[in-house]
């Protein structure tokens, strides 16, 4: 099972992750920065998590095995 982390200190709030995987990521109302909804997503969402990681413009998302 993979593990998903979002680093709010480097997040710029562009929202790519929320667009790609709205079930895994959100942005908070105050700062608009990344909130990980499912730190351990089910295997069928692994690909979406990695796509969000790859497309994050600031490298704020890390997916580890």
């Amino acid at each position: 099972m993979s593990r998903v982390e979002g680093d709010r200190s480097v997040c710029a709030g562009s929202g790519n992750c929320v667009r790609i995987a709205p079930d895994l990521f959100d942005q908070d109302d105050d700062e608009g920065l990344v909130v990980v909804l499912q730190p351990e997503p089910p295997p069928e969402r692994d690909r979406a998590a990695r796509q969000a990681e790859n497309n994050c413009p600031t490298g704020a998302i890390k997916v580890t095995d």
């Binding site: 709030g13 562009s14 929202g15 667009r19 942005q27 700062e31 790859n54 497309n55 600031t58």
Partner: protein, 395 residues
């Protein structure tokens, strides 16, 4: 020096909707800019993403060596307060974070009914004016202008004033003095607007920033004025050009449109592909290296200018198969039409929603939409942001 390619590229002998070919087999090489400055042009997807994500490349145009894409001497350059697209690190984050929640997907979704009403209203007005009509004037320009006016609290009745000055600022042919005059006109207008919002308050974004950020000392009124100009110009120019060019593109690909009509939920992928294909910020994004860094096998030294050429990255055949072909179903998620790195377009959820709703309504309400002139006669804008000058259509 004489055979060094000049940048920005002039139109080539090919379909102007397709970005020009780049001249470097290795994906990176030196170009001469209008100021005579030499900069590295980075064209590969991977390299463009590296430059835009790296802290070793600065967006601060006052740093020595910063590449000027327009013929404006560095001594003439004075960044405006609040213009955070030209700031780095903590300075940039300070301003950007005041805006991130405003433009995030969840909030833009709440604006969708307003966007749809605006789109339908503009289409109705265009139909009432009678065919042929200029789609840019009646549809592509008013829709994003009305939406950003609503968000910022700028009276839409002033649209002629700010649209004309934005166009002047962004056109290549504008002499420096005229560009500066247009900018000063806009700043003067927004200074009055900000002062009024400070006095009267309101629910719009500029009023809230005045009350929550200026009154609290987190930003100055001048910074709010600069930020408002950035949002007003970026908020209507880019999306309006995308709506116009996307329409032109779709009219030339009826088979793709038919496929879209059979599968309306595919509109989101279609929007991504149009963003990728057209890449309207054709001049790319300028940066200056602040440390020696290797990009695409080339060492770029501190102080050298770099242009991250978004159009090259979006037509990189190692990432997008047959990149110069429009394929609305390809699912172009990794395009960089909105840039990359901490400066990636903050308004992208709004731009996407406007583009999607505009195309949805246009295709369903005007199924017989057609260009009223020969496609070869469409004039394109010679400006920082690529677009069609006019688009006469019938329906």
């Amino acid at each position: 020096m004489n055979d060094m390619p000049r940048f920005p590229f002039r139109p080539q002998d090919r379909d102007p909707l397709i970005p020009p070919r780049f001249p470097f087999p290795d994906g990176i090489g030196q170009v001469e800019l209008p100021t005579g400055q030499v900069a590295w042009l980075v064209t590969r997807h991977e390299d463009v993403r590296q430059v835009l994500r790296s802290a070793d490349f600065s967006s601060n145009l006052t740093k020595p060596g910063f590449p000027a894409i327009r013929p404006i001497p560095p001594s003439e350059v004075s960044p405006l307060p609040g213009m955070f697209i030209r700031m780095d690190g903590a300075d940039h984050a300070h301003f950007r974070r005041m805006l991130t929640p405003e433009f995030m997907i969840r909030h833009v979704r709440l604006l969708e009914p307003l966007i749809r009403d605006t789109v339908v209203g503009a289409l109705d007005a265009m139909r009432a004016s009678g065919a042929p009509a200029d789609l840019i004037k009646w549809f592509a320009l008013p829709v994003p202008s009305m939406v950003i006016c609503h968000l910022l609290g700028v009276p839409y009745t002033d649209h002629g004033f700010f649209q004309e000055r934005s166009r002047t600022m962004l056109a290549w042919a504008t002499p420096i003095e005229a560009a500066r005059a247009a900018r000063d006109d806009l700043l003067g207008y927004l200074a009055k607007l900000v002062a009024a919002k400070q006095r009267e308050g309101g629910e719009d974004l500029v009023s809230r920033l005045a009350a929550e950020r200026v009154a609290t000392g987190e930003m100055t009124a001048d910074e709010l004025i600069g930020m408002s100009m950035l949002l007003l110009v970026a908020g209507h120019e880019t999306t309006s050009n995308m709506i116009g060019l996307s329409t032109l593109m779709l009219l030339q690909h009826p088979e793709e449109v038919r496929r879209l009509a059979d599968k309306p939920e595919a509109i989101e992928d279609a929007v991504e592909e149009l963003l990728r294909f057209l890449t309207i910020v054709r001049t790319g994004l300028p940066r200056v290296a602040t440390a020696d860094t290797e990009v695409g096998g080339q060492v770029i030294k501190a102080g050298e200018g770099v242009i991250a050429w978004l159009a090259g990255a979006n037509h990189d055949e190692t990432v997008f198969t047959d990149p110069d072909a429009l394929d609305l179903s390809r699912g172009s998620h990794s395009h960089v039409a909105f840039g990359f790195g901490v400066h990636q377009c903050i308004g992208q959820p709004l731009a996407r929603a406007e583009l999607r709703i505009a195309l949805e309504e246009l295709l369903t309400r005007l199924p017989n939409l057609a260009l009223a002139i020969d496609p070869a006669e469409v004039e394109f804008r010679d400006a920082v942001i690529f677009g069609a000058q006019r688009l006469p259509v019938t329906w």
